[in-house]
Each structure stands twice: as C-alpha cells, then as structure tokens.
C-alpha cells in the first residue's frame, strides 16, 4: 500500500488545529475527527480472480456543542476552508436542535486527552505484494478442491490501514494508526440437492495485525485441507437430530453467541431506547446492573480493548475516552454496560470507552469493541469426556435474534454427536434455539486457556444512519445444559 498524506498538510494534526483555531463560533466545545482509510481486497474463486480492489477514502467530522446539544457536519474537503464550513453547518445543526434536545450535555462528554496508538504488525501489510497475495489465494483454492464434489472454492483477503486524528478546542490531540487483516476461505460441496459449505472458522479470522495470519505454513495448509474434506464429509452426514441435550460450542461459534446475546443487550443506547427504531432495545433494565444473574457463576465477561492482535483494540474511543479493560459480567452477575460518556450521563450507570464511529462520515455511538468470555479450568478432553450425550458445534452460518436480544436461533456449519464421553459421528445442518437468560444460566463447563481463541468480524451493523464496525471476541470452548438442538430440511 502507498501512504498518501492528507492534502494541504504534512501533519493532519496541524491542519485540524489550524481549522479549530480559526473558528469564531460561540460554541461550548468544538472537535474534529479526521480519518484516512487505505484498503486492499483481493479474492479468487476456483483459482480465478474475482476482485482486486483498492480504496483510499478520507474525510473529517466536525462536532460542535451548543446549549447542551451536539451538532455534526462531515466533509471530505480537507482544507481549513472546508473544515470551517463544516463547523458552521454543525453549529447551525446544534443550535436548531437545542430546543428539542434529549439531554443537556456538557463538554465533559469529550474529555481532554493526548496520546498515540499503533497496531503491532509483524509483517506490515505493505510488504504483501500483489503477485504473492494472488499466489497464496490460488494455492488455497487448489488445496480446498479435495474432490470433484467441491463445486466452489473461494479465498479472499482484506487489508486496511486506518489513521484517525482527534483534535478539540479543549486541547485534545490523538493519533491512532491501525492495521487490520482479514483472510477468508471456503469450500462448497454438492451432491444433487444436497449442498454444504465449510469456511475457516465461520469467516471469523479478523485481526489487528499484519499479514502474518496468512503466512502460517503447515498450519494454514492443514486447515485448507480439513475445510475441503469436511465440506465433502457433510454431504453424507445425517441431519442433526431434534433433541434437548448438552450443547458444546467451539470458540468460532461462541464469537457469535457472545456478540448477539451479551454484547448487544448490554449497549446502553439500546437500554436508553435510541436504537429501538432500528436494531432494537434490550431485555436488560437499568436497575439490572450490579444485580442481574445474567449467567451461571462460571460466566466471566470482559470488555477488553487491550488485547494485542484482537480486532477491536484501541487506546482511545472516537470521543477521546481512555480505553481500559473492565468486567461486564463477573461470576455470572451483570456489572456494567457498554456505554459512552454520553450514555453514562443520561442513564447514570457505569459504562466503558466505547463511543465508536464506522468512519469520518458517521457520529460515534455506543459500540462493542472486544468482548471476551474469560477462560475457565477445563481442558477440551475433560469437557467432552464428562458428557454421556450431546452435540458439539463449530462455526456460525445462520444468526437471528429478536429486537430485545431475548429469543435467538443460531445455525452452525459443522457438528459432531457426543456419545459416552467421546466425539462421535458428524451431523449436518446443526441449529439451536433458546432465550438469552436461559442459555447463559445453563453454562455448565468453561474451557481452559488452551481452548481459548480470538476471532472477529468487520460487519457489525447498527445505528441511524447505519454504521458497520469491527468487533473482536475471544472465548474458550463452553458447554450448556438442556439446549434445544435441531437439523435442517425444508
């Protein structure tokens, strides 16, 4: 990737500072958040190129606080004149809306902070050449095609370098430089009407890192071989039985489970009702914090933006709040929510540094970052060995949950029956359904550190106007008692 500076200045901090200094607005606070995003994505299907895309997008959002109301204006004209014009628009927005404000915010919602952050990348993204990237993708496609029954073998990668700068009238100066890498591959097998797709961990390989996660040698090629073979294996596997049993989830399905049924319901803006017209509200009430037995005593969940290489790590959120590790759920009891300074001020409950925006053209809202289930003390073999009967599932393929984050149904790519303390036959089209409290309170065994894995996704959607954002989820293998599982068939 080539790095191009923002136009008109060598140091964007200087441009933003000059723009703020030049303003003559009777505002209580002004801030500018600028972003430059360079990305490359490449994909192949059956060894032939499907896409080669680069992107260089940049712009800035100006926020202005007037009479307790924030207004914003986003522009891609990154000049002092362009930013001044945006500031004036933001001022007018705030002033016009102030009589109808939902809360009188003070400048404390945008704390003064100074700092820098940079992703550690063992193999910087710009060192992955175009030709080498395609050689790898082609070889992955070849490796996936273990049989003539593989009707589609796909491989792709996405690499992004994102710089954000935050400058405010109260003296904030932050620069964060991120590197994101997302490799993915999948095999689809078909035998007449039976079609099965297997991916590398439900496309959950999303890291804040360089491209070292694609340069994994034998481990990568063994994984490619296994994915191809399992897609074919699923064609003749029996349907997952309809039964109520012990469900054991691998970390690549725990990712989705955590995201949908812990992350989203704990967002304070959902509890405040902001999100009810789009993604929905939450079954969690303000009075539940510090009280609600969310899960069994074995459930410990953290908001942890400090984990190196996890997808949504950062030092400051998009309002300048300092990011720290916090327990959301401890010994099963709900401790705090996912809410910004703004939501904390409105709701009066503790939150975390999670005001995040998808890009320069969207305002920050309450967001998950890295939400992790902490490891327990059970090796994988001990969990399986303790069960007379059950189903072990890997890799999400279908997800749906209601607007209160209460009733859900999730489907996985691959599963095995557990019989007499051992993994037994493979079953296909595995699904399960439950309600959130019932599910987490049935958590009976938590895998140890050896079972703990980190995954992530760039595609968490939320907000009005809509935003997608990166999230990371680390988890051990976990077992849940008395869960309704079932198979496919139309």
């Amino acid at each position: 990737m080539t790095v191009t500076p923002l136009p008109t200045t060598a140091d964007p901090i200087d441009l933003l500072t000059e723009a703020i200094t030049s303003l003559d607005l009777p505002a209580d606070w002004v801030g500018i958040r600028a972003t430059r995003e360079e990305s490359v994505s490449r994909s192949q299907r059956d060894g032939k190129p499907e896409g080669n895309r680069r992107s260089l997008q940049q712009g800035a959002m100006v926020e202005v606080l007037v009479n307790g109301q924030m207004g914003y204006a986003a522009t891609n004209r990154l000049t002092v004149a362009g930013l001044r014009h945006a500031a004036e628009l933001a001022y007018q927005q705030a002033q016009a809306a102030a009589p109808w404000r939902i809360h009188a915010f003070s400048p404390e919602i945008r704390p003064k902070v100074l700092g820098v952050y940079q992703t550690f990348a063992e193999k910087p993204l710009k060192t992955l050449t175009t030709s080498h990237a395609h050689e790898l993708l082609s070889r992955i496609c070849q490796g996936l095609k273990v049989s003539d029954q593989i009707v589609q073998a796909s491989a792709s990668l996405s690499a992004k370098e994102i710089d954000t700068w935050l400058v405010s009238s109260s003296g904030t100066q932050v620069h964060q430089k991120f590197s994101f890498f997302t490799p993915s591959f999948s095999a689809t097998a078909q035998d007449g009407p039976v079609v099965q797709t297997r991916t590398n961990n439900g496309r959950g390989h999303a890291y804040q890192a360089g491209w070292e996660f694609l340069d994994m040698g034998d481990e990568l090629w063994a994984s490619v071989q296994r994915i191809g073979e399992q897609a074919v294996e699923l064609l003749t596997a029996p349907e997952c039985p309809d039964m109520t049993t012990t469900l054991v989830l691998a970390p690549d399905q725990m990712m989705l489970q955590i995201h949908e049924s812990i992350g989203h319901p704990l967002e304070l803006d959902r509890i405040l009702g902001d999100e009810r017209n789009y993604a929905g509200g939450s079954f969690v009430k303000p009075e539940d914090f510090g009280q609600l037995q969310y899960g069994s005593e074995q459930l410990n969940v953290t908001f942890d933006p400090t984990v190196e290489q996890e997808f949504a790590s950062y030092a400051f959120d998009d309002t300048g709040a300092v990011a720290e590790r916090q327990y959301l759920i401890r010994d099963g009891v709900l401790q705090r929510g996912l809410g910004s300074h703004e939501s904390q001020a409105r709701l009066g409950v503790p939150g975390v540094a999670c005001a995040r925006a998808t890009n320069w053209d969207r305002p920050p809202i309450d967001r998950m970052a890295n939400i992790n289930v902490e490891p327990g003390d059970r090796p994988f073999a001990q969990i399986i060995g303790s069960l007379e009967d059950g189903v072990y599932m890997e890799a999400n393929r279908s997800w749906s949950i209601d607007d209160q984050r209460f009733k859900f149904q999730f489907g996985c790519e691959y599963a095995k029956r557990i019989r007499n303390g051992e993994l037994a036959e493979t079953v296909r089209n595995p699904n399960y359904r439950a309600t959130t409290p019932q599910f987490w309170r049935s958590l009976s065994q938590v895998g140890d550190r050896s079972t703990w894995q980190v995954f992530g996704t760039p595609y968490c959607g939320k907000g009005e106007p809509n935003q997608i954002i990166r999230v990371g989820h680390g988890a051990p293998v976990c077992a849940f008692d008395q869960i309704e599982v079932f198979g496919g068939a139309g």
Partner: protein, 443 residues
C-alpha cells in the same frame, strides 16, 4: 448538484485521453448531501449534515482488471490529482495480476440522464416540523433527506447520470409496556398534511397496542402478512436467491424451483420494474436494464438476475443485473383479497405487520427464520383480540409461497428503502399483503 455533474463530466472528459492503447476504464460515482436527525422520546438525540462522494475506477488491460475507489469532493482541482494517482497505481498493478477469463470490457453506446428535484425540509426546519406532532408520544426514529447521485462513465463512451432529492422519515411509536408500531413517510416533496395523516394512522394503531399482549405457544398459525413484512421476506431473494451465479453454484434457495424439485403457487408474479424512476436503470457495467422484466411468472422461474460477468462465465445472455445480482426495483403482483376483507379472510390467526432479523436457516431448501415485530395481533373470528408477544418463525418459502399461500391483497404498497450503510439507499419494493395457512412459529 449541477456542480457535481459538471465536475464529473469534466473529470471523465479529461481521463479518457489519458488511457494507453489497449486500456479500458469504467468509473462509477456515488455521492450525497444529506441531513440526518435522530430522535428518541420525541427529542433530538443526534443531528448533522454529511457531504460525501466516492469514485470507483476500474482499469482493464491484457485480460486483467483492478479497481480503486477514491474520494470525490466535487472540486475538480482536488479530485483530478487523486484520479490520476489511482490510474497510475492501477496501471502499475495490472501486470502483477492473474488473467481474468470473465472480464467484462465496456461496450455499447448507452447514455442516460435522470434528475429528480424535490422539496425537502431545510436543516433548521427538521426538528420544529417533525417533533411537535410527536409531542407526548414515545417516538423514536430517523429523518434522512437530501440529494443522492449515482453516475457512470466508460472508455467506450457510455455516460449516465442519476440524481434525486428524497427524504425518509422512519419512526416507531411505543407504549409504556414496550409494544410498538412502525411508520414510514417518504418521498421527494415534504407535505405537512401528508405527514400528519401518516402519523395519525400510526397513533390509531398504537391505541390497539395498549391491551395486554397475548402469549402464543409455538405451532402453525394462519397468518396475514402486511406489505412491509412481505417486503422483508422478498428481500431474502437478493441473498442467494434469484441471482444466476448463486443458482449455478448450488447456493440458491431457488435451486429446488429451478431443478423442478419444488414448486411455487401460481399466484406468485415477481418482476423487476424500473418504470417509477426510483433507482437508476444503469448498472456497474453501464448497461441499461429493460423497464420491466418478469422473474417469477405464475410460480415459474421465468428469468434470473444475470450480470454481464455471469453471462460471460456460463455463455448465457445477460439480464443487465448488477454484479451482485440482487433485486433493485422489485414488484410482487397483487391478488384478489380486498383490503376490507383481510380480517374476515384471516378468520382466526395472526396479523403480522412487520418482521425482523431474517436469515436463511437452511438456504438450499429455502427455509427462513426471523421474528415478528411491531404491531402484530391475535385475531379471532375476524376480530382483533390483542397484540402478541413476539414470536420466532422458521419456515420454507416453498410452503408460504407454495401450497400454503391463500391469496395476495388487491392493493400493493411501496415500501421505501431506508438503509444508509455507506450511502443512503434508493428505491424500495412494491408489494401486496398476503394470507398464508399453517405458518410455522417455533419459539
């Protein structure tokens, strides 16, 4: 907006002579100037303005293709250097790429220009116009309005420009117990009276939500789906459904229909219809779609969405679809059920106004899961009894658009797209309501 059009045309006029022999280029533009006001409890939560534009430049040579997206500001002096840098970057990259056997080179001489002006609320008028009517209500939602542009140019000489001024007011009204109704008011010209009428309908419906919700056991129920719910179900066909590539590669829910393994009701008539001018007719290849094209006719798969790339791969004709082969302006034909007869025809069962969070639970077999949402009622003997606690469903389209489809309504309704991932969506779906027997609810 005229400035953007002039800038885009000047950039394209200047770009084409820069191409070397054997090179071809296509350029797509998406841009907007939008106002967004988000509200909760009928108070402003967030408000702002966004001006954004992005050009997508695809360079092709020697059987290879690469694309770069760059910022479009509308200022030629700012955008031209970025465009030239992108051209040189792509030119450097092409030799490093493998050959693409399905490359689609620009071809044809299509030109189009559609500009739709509107009368929208000014920035300072949004809150004072919308919120007083919602006073006293627990109203939450988003006003989004402004100008949206989609444009295209290529080295074959094709050029398209589509600009429209639109707004959407997407809102929900809640009772104290958490029951809710959904309202949407959208168009090109804001009309205070039309907004008041729209809100009045939602308020009336909200009154019916005040009763204690009925909890239903899982099972199969006769169900009436209002047009917004039908639109949600139909949107699933854009995701591994009606696209030819998906069918060819085993990933489509319509595979069983295409193979003749399963059938749909002869009441199902689905088509793409661009005659309303809600979205551009041109696609990413510069092709102009026909004004109308039947997809499913009398339950039979008549046409699929075939992009130029898929057409080249499989040696079949293009149906001028986008590369993603998704529905752009779908219309589901009406049936015979009169509006006044809906409850009587339903008799006893569920009246479902909206659905939420749909996903394939078994795509090769057409099975969809999701939730009921907003104003959904239990009906007995043709009379609304009470709102329901939301239910999860898990059901195959070969059932609810197959033997279990009783009828579709005579009236159709336009359900506007209100999404804004990246840029504001355009267009919407024209659909009737539908009455279905034995719809499966599972939780």
């Amino acid at each position: 907006m005229q400035i953007w059009e002039n800038t885009f045309n000047q950039l394209m006029d200047a770009l084409m002579p820069q191409l070397a022999e054997g090179e071809a280029v296509t350029v797509g533009l998406v841009a907007e100037e939008s106002e967004f006001t988000r509200f909760n409890h009928a108070k402003v939560r967030q408000t702002g303005s966004i001006e954004n534009g992005s050009m997508s430049v695809t360079l092709m040579a020697d059987g290879r293709s690469a694309t770069e997206s760059i910022t479009f500001t509308g200022d030629k002096a700012s955008d031209w250097p970025l465009l030239m840098t992108a051209l040189h970057t792509l030119r450097d990259e092409l030799p490093q790429l493998p050959e693409d056997p399905y490359i689609v080179l620009p071809d044809g001489d299509d030109h189009s220009r559609e500009v739709y002006d509107g009368e929208l609320l000014g920035m300072s008028a949004i809150a004072p116009t919308i919120l007083p009517n919602m006073s006293g209500l627990d109203a939450v939602g988003l006003y989004a309005g402004g100008r949206c542009v989609r444009a295209y140019a290529d080295s074959a000489g094709q050029r398209h420009w589509f600009a429209t001024e639109t707004f959407t007011l997407d809102y929900s009204l809640f009772t104290e117990s958490g029951q809710a109704v959904k309202g949407t008011y959208a168009g090109r010209t804001w009309d205070d009276a039309a907004y008041t009428d729209n809100l009045a309908v939602a308020k009336t419906l909200l009154e019916q939500m005040s009763q204690t919700p009925k909890k239903l056991e899982r099972g199969q129920y006769r169900t009436y789906f209002a047009p917004a719910a039908v639109a949600d179900l139909m949107s699933m066909l854009s995701w591994g459904g009606i696209g030819e590539a998906s069918i060819r590669r085993g990933g489509s829910a319509l595979g069983p229909l295409q193979r003749g393994d399963k059938t749909l009701s002869d009441k199902i008539h689905l088509s793409e219809d661009f005659s309303q001018g809600q979205v551009p007719r041109f696609n990413q290849y510069g092709e102009l779609a026909p004004l109308t094209m039947p997809l499913i006719d009398g339950g039979q798969l008549k046409n699929t969405l075939v992009s130029a790339r898929t057409a080249k791969e499989y040696g079949i004709p293009s149906t001028f679809a986008e590369g993603g082969e998704y529905l752009r302006s779908p219309t589901l034909a009406s049936g015979t059920l009169a509006e006044a007869d809906i409850l009587a025809a339903l008799d006893t069962g569920l009246y479902v106004s909206n659905l939420h969070y749909l996903n394939w639970s078994d795509r090769p077999n057409g099975r969809i899961t999701g939730m009921t949402r907003y104003a959904c009622f239990w009906v007995e003997n043709g009379q609304i009894v009470a709102p329901i606690e939301n239910l999860r469903f898990d059901e195959s389209l070969y059932n609810f658009w197959g033997a279990n489809l009783i009828d579709l309504t005579q009236a159709t309704q336009f359900i506007p797209e209100v999404g804004s991932y990246g840029f504001r969506d355009l267009g919407g779906t024209l659909v009737p309501g539908m009455l279905v027997d034995n719809f499966a609810y599972t939780l």
